[in-house]
Amino acid sequence: MTTASATESKPASPAIEKVTLKVDGREVGVPKLTPDWQGKLVPTTMLQACQIAGVEVPHYCYHPKLPVAGNCRMCLVEFGLPAMGPDRKPILNEDGTPKIIRQTLPYEPGTPRGAIACATPISPGMEIYPNSPATKQMREAVLESLLINHPLDCPICDQAGECKLQEYSVEYGQSQSRFVEEKVHKPKCVDLGPRIVLDDERCILCTRCIRFSKEIVGDDALGIASRGSHNVLTHYPGKPFDNNYTLNTVDICPVGALTSKDFRFQMRVWFLKETKSVCTSCSAGCNIVIGSREGRIYRYTPRDNDAVNACWMCDYGRLNYKWIGREDRLKHVLRRTAGGKSERTTWTTALKEIGAKLKNTAANATAIVASARQTNEELYLLARLGKRLNALTDSVPRRGEPDKLLLQADRNPNSTGARLTGFLQAAAGSNLRKIAEGIQEGRIKTLIVVGEDVTKHGIDASLFSRLDLLVVSDILPNAAAAFAHYVLPGCAHTEKRGTFTNGQGRVQKFMKAVEGPEDARPEWEFLCDLVFETTGLDGLASIEGLFNQMAKETPAFSGLTWAGLGDAGVPANSLNTA
């Protein structure tokens, strides 16, 4: 798997020799070698040369992150090679240009010969004709073949709108099929595994899914059974297709053969709003796209980032979005009255009151527990608050079984950020007992909790009666909230902007896809207010400003800017991340 270190620490690659060739009549210089799916330098292919020349060669089976299969034949292109004399020197035309021989079938000299662009290496002086009549005819014929046995059920197919068969048919196909025979019928609605449904009739047998599972995941789970036109994709008999990466096959399937049980029939893809974001289910920080419509999230899909997740994500992270739309979300700002009852209040009132109380707390009498699921900006603000109050700060470690591909043992998305912002000064969780003891012994009188249910992490609810002030902010119901003097409803990452620092120290930003429910507010926003109320510092009204301010004050982030993070993120200063 591509890891940040592999991509980041790319040695200043020795200049790769260039090869000059022609694409569509235009001369282009392309590197002789190009990294393959594993990053190994191999001869550049015609398809890559065309890409460099800005010409798309339609393809199905080729995928830059998978070994080349060369089976769909969609990328066939006509090409020419310089004619060579017996002395191995190029033969020249009268005008001095090299003579090019358009390649033809060895046994039928009048018929152009195509080469599959995805697997054919370039050579100097080669001419590629990706738009010649012969190329178009080859393409058209492949498409015709792919469609003769295809069910053509686009109106009920989930892939419609992002289907390569549909796209290319419009662009390169014929409107009328010659085919008058009966189609081959194959299994439909096959339960391939717990998360995937297969329609064998739609499958074009490109083997992308097979190669992905075998080569990327290391699970040789899928294969083809039967022969010829009756070929079907299938899983190993008696063994459902069930690894932590199965849903990636839905992404890479060029047609609607593989569908996600979670997403199928939920929404037409062209209605989905796409928002760039980051997965928060572990410290890998896979880049994702959130698909949402009218405030509801329908799916996460991976977003390319070679430094992090290539173009994959795990099923666990992908499906971990349903909690965001839960009915029992914390939606109101609450204040506990003197009588012990909870009542709704406004953000302004709550923050003013909390600020006033904090201003008057004695040093060393406060503890702050904040989740490593909070953003860099939020943790930075909390670190500042903590410093001001000389508070004991901590976070909650969250661990699980890692795997060999992406999933990390650290299931918090921002443990690194908690450290780099200075919020965490010791190992996560190492202060929780001290905090509990401090409350027990009456030294700690104020507890601020953001995004964790501390009653599950060693700070028993029975201790809360000893506190003068308990502030709880969370997204979902939290046992401590029942005892809190103030409950502040926060936002999921899908409902705000911010940055996380992943396990490899990469600072990545995410954008807002949907609104939070009712009163819920992004934590960074109200924490800014709270810091202002408590310390009198201001000037952080926007996320950009906040980030840039944080970067200025945090050695690990120095030099970074919100704008400079781009879509792919930037590594924190390595000197300061250790």
Binding site: C72, V142, E181, L205, G228
Partner: protein
């Protein structure tokens, strides 16, 4: 008088000749191997040493031997492509998958003279520094696999195989691997995948040329059974002597399988190019002529995938005269010398050396359907044009032969076939397209007539008001 020239099949059909080691040894078996293994290096005038292995390779190159499996590629040249500097082991595979319809020659060797194949294989392995070789035999040859395994055991017991063969210090193991009944396992890279325990999906070339990235991605030689047997005779008689057999560029002998509408179907070993297609079909020494004095209609010259010849067809062949000058001569089908180059110049191929004869009773639309069904059944289905096209052609031909034809079906078939050849991963694409292209274009009137007759009949039933209009999607499409 044309006659057989039995070199490889010299003993096979002799009365009393059995396929055990003792019999082979009584007939001088393994003497060539014994000599080769003790061949001293030759010292050249410049002092350079030519090892025994290199000497054998040189002899094979000199012999002009061309592969007998189908493509007719120079054996010496193939061996010269082997990447000997990779540091990886070199493997050799004997292709005993013999599946091309009409071909039954390797079978004769395997069943009747297995030790000859082993000796040829061991020599070829020795020449190429191979220490592990496989014989990939088609699954249907159950008995053949048993015979080969017994022969291997016999050879091992007598130290013709195993560690330190005949005290020479050379080690070699050979294993028999049985296929599971798929034609595509004869295609060398499909074979290699199958041998690796995978589905026999042929590999893309580039980059997977067996000589560089073959079995387990190591350099690999794949040769046909008959080719490897020829190597034994080349080492025995020298490359130059072998090259005197046959004709220039088409040297040696070849076992031809003749089947179809002839009096004496069977296998005949001949000097390549010394007999004509006509002689092979008509001469009493070979096919013996057509039955009941019927007329020749068509002949497939090199296994079912070769393009068919029409009786009476004439070809222009380039000939090099004794003075070295090139000239063009016109020859008819029956006068076509049966060698690689002539058959190729006539637009077809001698392929696996299988001649299929059809007389005037043959219905060529039916014959072609039969062939097309075979290829639709055997396509591995890896690449789009062949996977979809092979069954498409079979369905169309089935329809044409079952009362649902159309006049345009001839062109329809040509259209499909044209878009398969040259566009696929392996040569199966040509194998399934060529019969259709050649049958339909050379006998177009027959295909059109059948379609027209069907159309006329359908329109009669239609105007008579009986029955529905034409339903081209007939229910009984072949489930191949």
């Amino acid at each position: 008088m044309p006659s057989e020239y039995r070199l490889i099949l010299k003993h096979a059909d002799q009365p009393g000749y059995t396929n055990d080691l003792d019999c082979y040894l009584r007939h001088g078996g393994y003497e060539v191997l014994r000599k080769a293994l003790s061949l001293p290096p030759r010292i050249l005038s410049d002092g350079r040493k030519v090892s025994a292995q290199e000497q054998i390779r040189d002899e094979v190159m000199l012999s002009g031997l061309r592969g007998r499996g189908g493509a007719g590629f120079s054996c010496g040249l193939k061996w010269s492509f082997v990447d000997r500097k990779s540091g990886k082991p070199v493997y050799l595979i004997c292709n005993a998958d013999e599946s091309e319809p009409g071909t039954f020659k390797d079978k004769q060797i395997i069943y009747k003279d297995p030790h000859q194949l082993l000796e040829g294989t061991i020599l070829s392995c020795f020449a190429n520094d191979v220490h592990l070789a496989y014989i990939y035999i088609r699954g249907e040859f159950v008995q053949g696999a048993k015979i080969l395994n017994r022969a291997l055991a016999e050879a091992r017991a007598k130290e013709f195989l195993g560690k330190n063969i005949l005290g020479s210090g050379y080690d070699l193991e050979i294993f028999v691997h049985r296929g599971a009944g798929a034609y595509i396992c004869g295609e060398e890279t499909g074979l290699i995948e199958s041998l690796e325990g995978k589905r026999a999906y042929p590999r893309i070339k580039p980059p997977y040329f067996p000589a560089v990235l073959g079995l387990y991605l190591c350099p690999t030689i794949v040769n046909n059974v008959e080719t490897l047997c020829a190597v034994k005779h080349i080492v025995a008689m020298s490359g130059a002597e072998y090259a005197k057999l046959g004709t220039p560029n088409n040297t040696g002998t070849r076992i031809v399988s003749i089947s179809g509408h002839i009096k004496k179907p069977g296998y005949y070993e001949v000097e390549v190019g010394k007999v004509t297609l006509g002689e092979l079909i008509l001469d009493p020494a070979f096919g013996g002529g057509l039955r009941e004095d019927r007329q020749l209609k068509a002949v497939i010259p090199g296994g079912s995938s070769a393009k068919v010849f029409k009786a009476g067809e004439k070809f222009k062949l380039k000939r090099r005269g004794p003075d070295g000058q090139m000239s063009t001569v016109e020859v008819g089908v029956l006068d076509l010398p049966y060698d690689f180059d002539s058959v190729q110049q006539a637009g077809s191929m001698s392929g696996s050396g299988a001649i299929i004869v059809m007389d005037d009773t043959a219905d060529l639309t039916e014959a072609l359907e039969n062939i097309a069904e075979f290829y639709a059944h055997e396509s591995c289905g890896q690449c789009t044009p062949c996977r979809e096209g092979s069954l498409w052609m079979a369905k169309a031909l089935h329809r044409l032969n079952h009362g649902q034809g159309r006049k345009q079906d001839a062109d329809y078939l040509l259209h499909i076939a044209k878009h398969i050849q040259g566009r696929t991963i392996c040569a199966f694409g040509e194998a399934c397209a060529w019969p259709v292209l050649s049958f339909v274009s050379k006998f177009k009137d027959e295909f059109q007539a059948k379609g027209a007759a069907d159309e006329a009949r359908r329109s009669r039933t239609l105007t008579a008001g009986a029955g529905p209009g034409p339903d081209l999607r007939i229910a009984a499409s072949p489930e191949v």
